[in-house]
């Protein structure tokens, strides 16, 4: 290969080089500025997409700050580098940045006050909050301004999940999962009040929808996790380690799935998060909070959420805190 030279006048070449250097600098500033504003490093984002899922490692525990302390949180939702925590005992939602620093609180003042915020989902710029005190689903914008009540008929909504233009509500009044479209039009229902039989639900608390559209339901008072298709047909029960003769779950409450399809089940009575693979087998359990020498463990883990960067967020109701783990 010969050494090829491009000949241009000195002034032009200097200007050209300066312009390109300037473009590189502006692009870098814009790119890094964006990552700074989101508090997330590009390495973290890349690792979230490329790295395999591993045993959770603790990152941080968030209690709020001196002015705004978390009290008995029921649910957590993490997306777009923001963390929403249902600070249930304080009747409000707390929004944290990616580092766990409080950004704002809402729902405890203003036009519509929350009573018992229980479950949450963020749909584009709107926060859907199922309130077990109001027995309604309130919709706020991400700045904390109340927008409307979602027009869906529910008896006692405890949780809400959004996936592929559909909203899934766990209703402990009817013991069913109610599916609606974005306008609130009911599309279908999953399960029916029941105990032992497949498809029977008793106080279903948690919902997760897998990437292939399977609806996973924490059938809390029946102590099991059931899987349904989009038409509400029972597919299977996640057995965990019940194959070894142990009861898989005591009272499964919150559900989340990672990018590999593993299902995370919060079980407050057992004080654990159980991790179950796609085949329904128990992979591991999570209890530890902090470093091993801290001798701290989950108290009553209720709501859980996993973000695109494969971080697991746990609302620890018993210890009034948010615990963050890394899964990669």
């Amino acid at each position: 290969m010969g050494h090829k030279k491009v000949f241009i006048s000195k002034q032009l070449s200097v200007i050209f080089v300066l312009i390109v250097v300037l473009i590189i600098t502006i692009a870098s500033l814009a790119f890094f500025g964006w990552t700074y504003s989101k508090r997330v490093s590009p390495v973290e984002e890349l690792a979230g997409r490329l790295m395999p899922v591993r045993q959770p490692t603790w990152i941080a525990t968030v209690y709020g700050n001196e002015q705004v302390r978390v009290s008995q949180p029921r649910a957590v939702f993490a997306a777009n580098h923001e963390i929403f925590l249902a600070d249930t005992n304080n009747h409000r939602i707390l929004m944290f940045d990616y580092n766990g620093k409080l950004v704002r609180k809402f729902g405890d003042d203003g036009e519509q006050k929350l009573v018992f915020p229980y479950g949450m989902a963020v749909v584009e710029d709107e926060v859907f909050i199922s309130d077990l005190g109001l027995n309604k689903v309130a919709v706020f914008d991400s700045k904390g301004k109340f927008l409307r009540f979602f027009p869906v008929k529910l008896s006692r909504p405890v949780n809400v999940v959004y996936k592929d233009e559909k909203l899934y509500f766990a209703d402990i009044g009817t013991h069913q999962i109610v599916i609606t479209d974005r306008s609130g039009q009911e599309i279908g229902r999953i399960g029916r009040p029941g105990q032992k039989e497949p498809g029977g639900l008793s106080y279903p608390n948690g919902i997760a929808v897998s990437s292939d559209g399977r609806v996973i339901v924490a059938d809390t008072n029946n102590g099991r996790v059931q899987v349904f298709d989009q038409q509400g047909r029972f597919l299977e029960e996640l057995l965990g380690d019940s194959a070894q003769g142990k009861k898989a779950f005591a009272a499964p409450t919150g559900l989340a799935t990672d990018k590999e399809g593993n299902v995370y089940v919060s079980d407050p009575l057992a004080k654990t998060i159980s991790i179950v693979n796609r085949q329904g087998q128990l992979v591991s359990t999570l209890q530890q909070v902090g470093l091993p020498q801290d001798n701290d463990s989950l108290s009553l883990p209720t709501g859980i959420s996993i973000d695109a960067n494969q971080r697991l967020y746990v609302a620890d109701y018993g210890a009034s805190r948010l615990v963050i783990y890394n899964l990669k």
């Binding site: 050494h3 090829k4 030279k5 491009v6 000949f7 241009i8 006048s9 000195k10 070449s13 200097v14 050209f16 080089v17 390109v20 250097v21 590189i24 600098t25 870098s28 500033l29 790119f31 890094f32 990552t35 700074y36 508090r39 997330v40 490093s41 973290e44 990152i59 941080a60 525990t61 968030v62 209690y63 709020g64 700050n65 001196e66 002015q67 302390r69 580092n99 766990g100 620093k101 805190r321 963050i324």
Partner: protein, 232 residues
Amino acid sequence: MQSCEIRSDPVRCSERKTVSLGKALIVFGLALGMNIVIGFAIGYSFFWDKHQQQDPNQLRIGSAQREVEANTQDPQAHLKLGYAYLVGKETEKALKEYSEAYRLAPNDMQVSYNLALGYIADKQFAEAIKLLEPLTEKVPMDFSAHFSLGEAYSGKGEYDKAISSLSKAAEIKPGDAYVFYTMALVYKQAGEKEKALAKVNEALRLVPEYQQALKLKSSISGENAGGKLSGP
């Protein structure tokens, strides 16, 4: 890039007025590399992975201190701060706040009870008893007052009175394994091993996997078998 000094030779001069693509790429690469290095350095120094490792006790104390500063005459604010200190094992400061709450609301039973807890934590058992006895008389079904009175008597070495108070607490809450465990501890301290064993068995009947009770039981059984005396 050199300036052209050979004005008499326009061809050579023209050649020397050029920048090679290789040099330009090196400059671009250096600019990009520097931007990336600086970008990452700033990011990891100020913006990324900046999780504050919070101490819940310090947070609780700080929050309660703010409340006291805002409402210096509110006994509840002093109680909160006292409790925060107590949890943080800062007993002297806790007692000071509880005493202040008591000065502000001497007839408030909750305040009296908390002050008694502060005295127990500070091992001033006689002071605690002075506060708790009237409480158990005013509200005979107050489980916490009976239980704490039992603890105070036990701390003072008056084991019979401790057992009597704890028995009342057990009557009020017969399903509370911790009461039976505490009674077992008191009997053990009093040297009544058989009664201690009976009470620890009662606790284990209620909560079979009660780890502290299991340890206490093995400790008591070990003593019975001539083993080394050890605490739970």
